[in-house]
Subunit: 218 residues, 2 copies
């Protein structure tokens, strides 16, 4: 197991790990469609959108599956913005403040910089920088994303701890020499569950981000 003293920076997956995308998107879908008198299965809609990429062209592609071919442009724009305003899991803001006292913190997400900046504003996350796909010009789990993040902080991969609720993300990071921390998010997918524990050997496994902060001595 990695000694916490080795670690200088924490990298975070965001959707699912830090924010509850499913409830947030479903709530926004209901709010935006209600004035149109439309009722759909908003949870299933969130699942479908997340299943691909949370981009505008994905939205346009999934709308017909929910009988919403004719949805107007303004509502489509508003729906797309829902990804910019999602609630953090309850313990996250305070846990990030504890962690920031000792480590550099950055999101390493496939979401772009603008999206990350909005989520940070809404949830009072204080990042040292926004790293991830837009910096690397590639998407996780490609190696370039993790390596570009370490390089942006002038750190070796072993000095960086990837924090995620998804074993696939951690497996990609571990293969490059980053340390890994799994955070359980048993309700990420609502009734479909979420990872309660890692599917691979990790350096740290925690029930939530507050528990991880404690394990790291913060």
């Amino acid at each position: 197991m990695t000694d916490p003293e080795t670690i200088k920076a924490l990298f975070f997956d965001v959707f699912g790990t830090l924010v509850d995308w499913r409830s947030g998107i479903a709530r926004n879908v209901r709010r935006l469609l209600e004035p149109h008198g439309i009722a759909i299965d908003a949870d299933a809609f969130a699942d479908a959108w997340r299943g691909e990429y949370q981009h505008r062209h994905t939205l346009d592609r999934i709308l017909p599956r929910f009988g919403l071919d004719a949805l107007d442009e303004d509502t489509r724009v508003a729906l797309n913005l829902a990804w910019h305003h999602l609630p953090a899991w309850p313990e996250v803001p305070a846990a990030l403040r504890r962690l920031r006292a000792r480590f550099r913190l950055a999101p390493v997400s496939n979401g772009n910089i603008s999206l990350m900046a909005d989520l940070a504003r809404d949830n009072s996350f204080h990042w040292d920088a926004i790293l991830g796909a837009e910096i690397a010009r590639d998407y996780k789990p490609k190696p370039a994303v993790y390596l570009a993040a370490a390089e942006a902080f002038d750190l070796a991969p072993a000095q960086c701890l990837m924090v995620a609720a998804h074993s696939s993300d951690l497996a990609a990071a571990a293969a490059l020499g980053l340390a890994t921390a799994h955070v359980a998010r048993p309700r990420e997918h609502g009734p479909h569950g979420g990872e309660t524990k890692p599917e691979l050997a990790v350096d740290f496994a925690a029930a939530d981000l507050a528990a991880l902060a404690t394990k790291l001595g913060c």
Copy 2:
């Protein structure tokens, strides 16, 4: 003149505009060379380093000019790190807090992300993202740097205000359609002065960053 209502994000030049690089570098040079019994003109050394790029290979090139060919590697590394720990001009931290209540804030500097993150930590700057040369993979005053910064925030150039103490930086930004704000830094170069007013037409000209915040209605 641009209406402040149009502006959504402020981009900041950092060296000279937000931090006092000359005093900071000179102080660190004196502190690091004193244990070696070496006394040089630390202000001139800071000027020479800044005159080119503040990189490690520039340091290696200017050391001989100051009779320091034989300086050991550890001290060279420590000297280079001096750029990561420079004092903000006194009014800057509080002015940035006022501005952040209304605008997205990002450094758009030729310094890299790691350097920007350290300067932010030392001086309690809360950035929404770190933009600039490393994101754009080019250096100011190249157009790509300003345009990549606007794009990272999903904004049009006209929604972005470039804030700098250097007219050349503002001229490059204005040519691309960004709004411009000049902040006077009459002591940037010590006895050699600094820009007391812009050398081109700008949207806002202010005596310091607090005065700019007031002009922007913050």
